[in-house]
Symmetry: D3
Subunit: 176 residues, 6 copies
Amino acid sequence: MLHIFILFALFFSSTSHASVQDFCVADLKGPDSPAVSPAFVAQFPGVNGLGLSIARLDLAPAGVIPLHTHPGASEILLVVHGKITVGFISSANSVYVKTLKRGEVFVFPQGLLHFQVNAAGYKATAFASFNSPNPGLQITDFALFANNLTSALVEKTTFLDHAQVKKLKAILGGTG
Amino acid sequence: MLHIFILFALFFSSTSHASVQDFCVADLKGPDSPAVSPAFVAQFPGVNGLGLSIARLDLAPAGVIPLHTHPGASEILLVVHGKITVGFISSANSVYVKTLKRGEVFVFPQGLLHFQVNAAGYKATAFASFNSPNPGLQITDFALFANNLTSALVEKTTFLDHAQVKKLKAILGGTG
Amino acid sequence: MLHIFILFALFFSSTSHASVQDFCVADLKGPDSPAVSPAFVAQFPGVNGLGLSIARLDLAPAGVIPLHTHPGASEILLVVHGKITVGFISSANSVYVKTLKRGEVFVFPQGLLHFQVNAAGYKATAFASFNSPNPGLQITDFALFANNLTSALVEKTTFLDHAQVKKLKAILGGTG
Amino acid sequence: MLHIFILFALFFSSTSHASVQDFCVADLKGPDSPAVSPAFVAQFPGVNGLGLSIARLDLAPAGVIPLHTHPGASEILLVVHGKITVGFISSANSVYVKTLKRGEVFVFPQGLLHFQVNAAGYKATAFASFNSPNPGLQITDFALFANNLTSALVEKTTFLDHAQVKKLKAILGGTG
Amino acid sequence: MLHIFILFALFFSSTSHASVQDFCVADLKGPDSPAVSPAFVAQFPGVNGLGLSIARLDLAPAGVIPLHTHPGASEILLVVHGKITVGFISSANSVYVKTLKRGEVFVFPQGLLHFQVNAAGYKATAFASFNSPNPGLQITDFALFANNLTSALVEKTTFLDHAQVKKLKAILGGTG
Amino acid sequence: MLHIFILFALFFSSTSHASVQDFCVADLKGPDSPAVSPAFVAQFPGVNGLGLSIARLDLAPAGVIPLHTHPGASEILLVVHGKITVGFISSANSVYVKTLKRGEVFVFPQGLLHFQVNAAGYKATAFASFNSPNPGLQITDFALFANNLTSALVEKTTFLDHAQVKKLKAILGGTG
């Protein structure tokens, strides 16, 4: 059973202007599928002029934040509960993977592919700091399979098989 | 038969300090595979302090520049010969695709996934201008399948099937 | 009894190149004095080019991080244990003070005076994220009373009384 | 008798859109108090997009610009009349003090504490250039004693005595 | 016969919002005069936030883009048809001149004087990439001779003869 | 008689590391020529990291700072003695000219042509503040007539007469 469930919420510690925005919600059934836990994104009101922001990530026991980039910011991740396996691929195509415990931190350079995976059998929580109020977010799977980019172009530019592309487009709601 | 052949060359119009660097060369056999044409990257010597650079792209008749990002720069592509289908996926997950003829231009915002595909039965040439001397380059397929990122992590963070991951790792020389 | 004890340590989660630097250690006796807890500053090796950094703050039960500025960065503070009263004074001279519980965050704009005070009877821990690898630090008391700035100039430019200046210079090791 | 009188005026050499803004005016009586002279701040209309600004400082014979920072800009001070003792405290807590004569200049790095004191028995004039149209200004005494920051928090975060804090709050109009 | 004819046009490859703006049109008669060809400037709609832009230059057989600067951007010129002699003068007053053929590129550092001259007996086309959406343009002749800057000031600040100044003001429509 | 004499000196108010550099010295005879006064450029040692600099200009009674640009900085000019007529030409080709008295200021946007001319029968002094430690300087006459840029290219790209170009090349030491 595949639970892809990513919720982005804006909350503020010192104001009542909290807003919650559903970034993407998919709840799909299927065998041997990973579950993606909700991710809460916290941003201060008025942080726009200050050049930084922070987000909270909550990962369910089998939770995954899929491969993604932040085009507009570098990120430092701090684990405050549980264990999380994190990794990024450098511009020299080297892989940096590490399992973080509570109180440990890891840095993801701006614009590079990275991911977070719950590494224990229980809930994990982390905070991601960005050096921009608008780090942006591009989840590779959503860019490929959750819009109207044609299967033909996906296959040509990723070398993925036709059946694989069709399967993930079906799961993530893409067309074309 | 799959020809994945990407050559990055530095050449300079006004000096003899031209250098040619093989970014990646793969020459593999297999059914129904696209051919990736060489891409030549031109950069001036001493452009480091000037905040911009330019690259030349040569696409063979069935040539493809696979899905990739430039973490450090926006890009304007200018087609000078042939026809090229280009596209990018925005941070709002919208798809922008267009087939460019000679003299037409297209812009790719910094850090977002994009691609170029030869759209005619003959060679195509384009020039890519960047607003940084070091735009960087991350080709999604190479990041996933051409290094030692484990298949387990690729599958967990992309939802791709095991067989698909193993197949592309074999083609692109990845391990794990 | 006055315990002014501020320790800055560099530690790294993923390397063994951790280094610990004593920023300032003062251990002084006197009546009705607050105790300043150690503050550990964590910075990744090689974060220099990435535009951000993070520091860990550990406040003893009566711990205080005295009034200070970071000339080179804005800061987001995240409390992960205990309760901390934080505040800053804006450029319009307005005061923003709040007592943060675990999981709450607060932002300090670049260059403005701010402070952190343990608000409970037990240890508190927080993490400070900066949008610069070199945020800098200027503690007002140390700038006034822990160097050779003459008492005459301190008094003229702060309107503090002579006895007050002499008392704090004696405690903090200043001369002149 | 304490005359704390700081007037910030915007004037323009080439337009009639000059505006005068009272930044802070305090006129208070008391023994052995320094007199703070008016400071006129000159800014061009429309300098906002140009990345710099200039201010004029007029110091009465015993005039003082109290300890302050500019969070958003570095400053170069040029003395055009009289003698002014200037100083700043570096991020390494070193003190740089110098008495400037007409035609001499001094630089204050962004965000660091600094001051200006008339060093002769007659009026002095200087011009301060900033590398931002909005350098900002935070006068330490006003941040501590001229608003509603509680005396308890001032004392905890500066180690100043209760009587000293209360005295300056009374002079500068602070509450709490 | 002197044809000074510079046309700046905004066109867009992917939209119908193309706009054409006449930057400057002068059509004057006189002996032994160079002809300046139209220059078309292409800018994407919405490129404002992306930090780069591109312009197309079309030079008639005897066409010249007169001495000019771009105050806000560096430029890379790519020749796609014909031959163009380009040059700039560095801040050390050194001269860099080169005749470019099709496919060759040349860089002009931000703010420095440069020019382009058709170097063959037939039409030439080039594309200029800038690392700013607003590179700006200041043509030296227009700044001196096509407005109301008085001849007296032009002569004093350029050492040009009075007759020369009056002749070019007449041609370019300047007064004073 | 033409006296073109521009001296750039680095001096520092607080150190003995002052250095004097002759930027350009020409001493030439000729009828009805303006005299260019020495210009002293003051820069602090170590201002490199602070983002600003300052220069002192001394204009003889008939002194002129010829038409020039600073490619890397905006400038604010402050007159401290005498009267100076200043002006710049905007990117919209508008002329802004004003005669400044002591204590008046004027701003020159980055990269735009501007000049300063003594407007009285006696010595004038001014200070120029820049929002960069390296504003750069390009004097139009020197770029055209004081190097080996060929007369043919100067004439083609400026529309100046051959005799005029040859005359100024002779005065300023240019060849070609």
